[in-house]
Amino acid sequence: MIPSILLVDDESLFHLVFEDACSLLDIALNLEAIDSANKAEDLFAKWSVDPDGRPECVFVDLNLIGSSFDGIELVRRVNQMYGNGVVIGIISSSSDQLEIDKAKDVGAQFWIVKSDYIEPRLEAFRAKYDDYKARTAPFKVYT
């Protein structure tokens, strides 16, 4: 079980889906969901000074309406500006290869495609989680 997860997604209904799916699958003990890349950046800026409360794993939506930058840019900032100390990847309904390549280039460790039935992808991700944490797992797209 992942001790703490941060979900960054502008769709509040997906927060509920993700929370329930993680709870049913015993994926996460503590899950925080926010709707903006800017809020996430502020949190990481704070955690770079004081790591208390910092999540172990971060799921970022690709298109974050209402934010001043997208999910790939958030992954880049988290990895390059605030220290590469978390398991981080993209969760999006898009499976555009160009975007996937960009995410991989900025240090995303996984790409999970959102759909109505997301549970099997989350289970597959959880199975590999220890490898992601150890940074030994290759980048993977969960479709």
Binding site: L13, L16, D116
Partner: protein, 222 residues
């Protein structure tokens, strides 16, 4: 693995009583960290609470997914309505522009019609003026012709009268007078004078007739 949380026996007993009496369980992630400490009854409570929690979460997850799907459809419908509204607004604007252009073209056509009307009136005026000028010229020419005829006729009458009268006077009062010649000249003078007077009045009558006829012909055109 997360660190386990222990509860005092009293708390466990209260939880179990609430579950048996009211079917009320604690729920959420706290269930994952509670330690039953090997007690079958505590473990039973945790299993029942976890099953109830899972059941609720599954139901909520399905409902949330349905709502999410409906929300997607609504958002898509909203997007389509937005596009259609935008298209309708664009069409409305184009229609407004077309109407303005039609109105401008109509105003131009009206102006052109007024200009054409003014030009027609101007042409009509010019035509009337030209016609009046022509009439004036024709009348002037007629009057000049008539004057000339009258002058020539008077000249001829006066000249013939003078010559005949002179000859008659010479025959009457000349040195060599012959009664037969005088008589002949008297008759001739008398006849000639009668003819001249008749012709004079005939000419005057003809002129007056021509003038009257010309005026009668012109009148209906005015």
């Amino acid at each position: 693995m997360p660190q386990k949380v222990s509860l005092p026996d009293g708390a466990w007993a209260a939880l179990i009583v609430a579950a048996q009496r009211d079917r009320v369980f604690i729920e959420g992630n706290i269930l994952k960290v509670l330690d039953p400490e090997g007690s079958p009854s505590y473990q039973g409570y945790l299993d029942a609470a976890t099953a109830a929690d899972k059941d609720k979460r599954e139901k909520r997850l399905q409902v949330t997914k349905q709502v999410q799907e409906q929300n997607k459809e609504l958002l898509e419908a909203q997007r389509i309505i937005g596009l259609k509204t935008e298209k309708a607004e664009r069409a409305l604007n184009e229609m407004r522009e077309a109407k303005q252009q039609t109105e401008a073209a109509l105003a131009e056509a009206q102006q052109a019609r007024e200009d054409a009307e003014a030009a027609r009136k101007g042409a009509e005026g010019a035509w009337k003026e030209a016609k009046n000028d022509l009439d004036y010229m024709q009348k002037r020419t007629q009057f000049e012709l008539m004057g000339r005829i009258v002058r020539v006729s008077l000249f001829v009458i006066v000249a013939v009268g003078t010559v005949t009268t002179s000859m008659y006077a010479m025959a009457l009062f000349g040195p060599k007078t012959n009664a037969e010649d005088v008589n002949l000249l008297a008759n001739t003078w008398s006849n000639m004078f009668g003819i001249l007077l008749t012709n004079s009045f005939s000419i005057i009558g003809t002129i007056m007739g021509v003038k009257y006829a010309t005026e009668s012909r012109d009148r209906p055109n005015e």
